[in-house]
Symmetry: C2
Subunit: 112 residues, 2 copies
DNA sequence: ATACATACCTTGAAGTATGAGGTATAGTGG
DNA sequence: CCACTATACCTCATACTTCAAGGTATGTAT
């Protein structure tokens, strides 16, 4: 049934979604593909990850949704609110702190 | 009641414990303090985190435990087994992959 | 006596990434 | 005309794991 809490991924989807949407509005399906691109294929998030994150952030007031019909299909575009920008900054700082800590610990011996 | 799944921390305790023990054997209480030191105070893990990780890794065959009486108190020293070294390498590579991906995504716009 | 550091431990709570599965329309190749 | 793929939205159960708080006990300093 697949792994549920893979190492180092907690919080990453939310951070990436906020980061991407802070540059331009996008819809869910587009985000799925964009994450792969901006992480150089290092990280791949399924729709089952993206959509819940989107809904959660919208409920938290960090995103606003806008429905647009395109070619008969409906797309839901998301934009970042001021609340979302605060959240991005906070999360981003948290990431920097922790990744610096881990890298510091890992590099104790043979760093290039 | 305190946060349970803080962002970016999943897998980090295990990685740090394996990394520290790969350098020299240590006991739980010592690890708690060492983590703070090697991460430059960026990461602090309580005993409620360290001990379960230790027990889990021992059960998985990644660590071996050795009881030593010191000054009337008992210390349990842990060492990394070959299985643990494999696990450390795998986790370490995973960390590098994901942190590189995130950094790449975060740096898309205004990197210093 | 009081308090703090050492040193081990367990427990309940809660968040969350994942794969699989579900619906529906548009376009493409045979 | 039919099958298949891509687009585009969605939900759900599972299982993992960190965390704070609390518990036991000894040594040391005040």
């Amino acid at each position: 049934m697949g792994k549920t809490n893979p190492p180092f991924m907690t919080g990453v989807p939310e951070l990436l979604v906020l980061r991407l949407l802070s540059q331009r509005e996008m819809y869910g399906y587009e985000l799925v593909k964009s994450v792969r691109v901006v992480t150089s294929e290092a990280i791949s998030l399924g729709e089952g990850v993206i959509y819940p994150v989107l809904h959660g952030l919208e409920k938290a007031g960090a995103l606003t949704a806008k429905r647009k019909p395109v070619n008969g299909r409906t797309r839901v575009y998301y934009s970042v609110t001021p609340v979302g920008r605060d959240r991005l900054e906070r999360l981003s700082g948290e990431w920097d702190r922790i990744s610096a800590g881990v890298d510091s610990a890992l590099g104790e011996a043979g760093l290039a």
